[in-house]
């Protein structure tokens, strides 16, 4: 088989399917979003309405609220996981452990992230429970009255975000340890010989080296935060009220959950896709210099 033949035989089927998987739903979403269609109706009742769905989005206060909630969610989870993992756990794991402990640290650190999200969600729901939860038990020992973490409008979003920070903070810590280990020993030892303190070594030696490979990781975390549905769905389903209703939660609720307005939900999917695409393209262009 020639090189050319090999190339086409493998590229064409894979990209055929990928193009279909990308553009067929996208095309459909755009098509539905320009129509008025309800799941309860047969598709022949689909009615062309132009940009009406998008106009409605602009004035839908619940949609605006979900954008705001998504922004808070992304900010809290990305910052929380980065600070916990990169700022606290990674230096701890790296600086003070031998070989065996290192392996155990890494192993334990990746476990939360590898759990099915549904599983992690239930684990925390059990611990958060106001009536039988262990967290409230410990708080009560300290004299704090029981808190219904997931039903309180101002705590709910942060209670769910904490789970995400738990999953990702530890994962980021593990990845950072790997990154730091790739730095030649001499660099760090030279710093130590010059009398640098531990925090100075981290700030001025390790941080600048680790930053470039860390940024793509941060980007992945950001994208993952944008698409967190499972946690919120299992733990609060967007409630109480709309306190934890992110964009995908609201789109789900409108389209499939209970309202069945598939065309309106499709216009939200399109908006979501556009936001993601703009964002990814921007980062990809900016990151060109780190790629080979």
């Amino acid at each position: 088989m020639t090189r050319k033949g090999f190339f086409y035989i493998f590229m064409v089927p894979a990209f055929g399917i990928l193009f279909f998987l990308a553009f067929y739903p996208l095309g459909n979403a755009v098509y539905y979003s320009l129509h008025d269609w309800d799941l309860r109706l047969n598709s022949q009742f689909m009615k062309f309405v132009g940009l009406a769905n998008y106009q409605r989005l602009a004035t839908d206060s619940r949609f605006i609220n979900s954008l705001k909630t998504t922004a808070i969610w992304v900010a809290v989870t990305v910052l929380g996981a980065t600070i916990l993992g990169g700022g606290i756990l990674a230096p701890l794991f790296h600086g003070y452990t031998g070989r065996t402990t290192r392996t155990i640290c890494l192993l334990f650190s990746v476990m939360p992230a590898l759990l099915p999200r549904v599983g992690a969600a239930y684990m925390w729901r059990l611990m958060y429970s106001p009536s039988i939860g262990i967290i409230n038990y410990f708080l009560s020992v300290l004299g704090v009255r029981p808190i219904d973490f997931l039903a309180h409008p101002s705590y709910a979003l942060f209670s769910v975000a904490l789970i995400d920070v738990w999953q990702w903070g530890f994962l980021i810590a593990a990845l950072m340890v790997i990154l730091i280990e790739e730095i030649p020993r001499e660099v760090i030892e030279a710093g130590a010989l010059d009398g640098a303190r531990m925090w100075q070594i981290y700030r001025y030696l390790i941080f600048p080296i680790v930053l470039p490979p860390f940024l793509p990781l941060l980007f992945v975390k950001l994208m993952e935060s944008l698409r967190t549905f499972d946690f919120i769905f299992v733990l609060t389903a967007g409630g109480p009220g709309t306190a934890t209703e992110t964009l995908d939660m609201y789109a789900y609720w409108q389209g499939i959950g209970s309202a069945g307005r598939i065309s309106y939900a499709s216009s939200m999917s399109v908006v979501m896709l556009v936001i993601t695409m703009v964002f990814v393209t921007f980062v990809w262009r900016r990151s060109a210099r780190w790629r080979d």
């Binding site: 476990m111 698409r227 609060t236």
Partner: protein, 272 residues
């Protein structure tokens, strides 16, 4: 490090133990709870000493939905993974070794697929499968899962093939091997360990996948994550014993694979 005094060393050891405990405490607590009887699990303050029972597991394994979910996951996930491998790994090889025009653009396209918001994919697919009368059908979910398995495979295998010594491949070319032979007899076997590592990661992704399965299936093609979550109605107090047992069963495969995941951790930086 070496310069630390003994007292500080002990202090940091305790700190690390505490931190690691936080990492796995939710898992441990759910496992403990899964061994409790109904009375013990609902008692407050929470019981740390109780007589363990396997009652919850026995009951869960007799629930038809759970068993069907388990069976479906064991069918759907490997098939989606296999298709992803067969279609994705050669593309990864091509990206790693064969120069062609528009390569960067295609790589970017694969990347964006990986980051598409699931809702934006699932809602159109829901409508499509609904119109084709293929909601709750295994094949429909497997096909939809290719949107996860193929791009991830392509993206992760690029690095695997890059690590194959290029001299081996050049030698094979000089010996008169065709491109396909170089791929199948040299690159594939040499990259196999890391390819398996990456496949395992995709397996975990698919095994854990909840959202597509939740939207596109209901009874016949339900997968394990959806089945485990189907116990609880939001807002109502839930049958905790059975949930704990089924979540633990669901979580065992990814937890077992976490050891291998750690071994392949360095790979994940080279792929970005």
């Amino acid at each position: 490090m070496a310069r630390l005094g003994r007292a500080r060393k002990i202090g940091f050891t305790i700190l690390i133990v505490l931190v690691l405990f936080v990492a796995i405490a939710p898992i441990v607590w759910m496992f403990i709870s899964s061994l409790k009887s109904k009375v013990d699990i609902l008692s407050y303050p929470p019981k740390f000493l109780f007589s363990p029972t396997l009652e919850n597991y026995r009951r869960v394994l007799n629930i038809a939905t759970i068993m069907r979910g388990f069976r479906n996951s064991l069918i759907i996930v490997p098939i989606a993974l296999l298709i992803g491998f067969v279609l994705g790994a050669p593309v990864g090889y091509i990206f790693a070794r064969i120069p062609f025009r528009k390569k960067e653009d295609l790589r970017f396209f694969v990347l964006t697929l990986r980051f598409m918001p699931p809702v934006a994919v699932a809602i159109p697919f829901f409508a499509i499968w609904l119109r084709l009368k293929m909601l709750d059908v295994h094949q429909a979910l497997i096909f939809t899962y290719l949107v996860i398995s193929i791009p991830t495979m392509v993206w992760l295998t690029i690095e695997c093939f890059r690590r194959v010594p290029v001299e081996c491949e050049e030698a094979a070319h000089l010996e008169g091997c065709t491109q396909f032979q170089v791929f199948s007899r040299i690159a594939l076997p040499l990259a196999l360990p890391s390819l398996l590592g990456m496949s395992m990661f995709v397996f975990i992704l698919l095994w854990n996948e909840f959202f597509f399965a939740f939207i596109l299936t209901s009874t016949r093609a339900i997968t394990m994550p959806v089945a485990s979550a189907s116990f609880a109605v939001v807002g109502m107090e839930v049958p905790w014993g059975q949930i704990c047992a089924s979540i633990i069963l669901l979580s065992i495969p990814p937890l077992v694979l976490s050891y291998f995941f750690v071994r392949f951790l360095p790979f994940f930086f080279k792929v970005g």
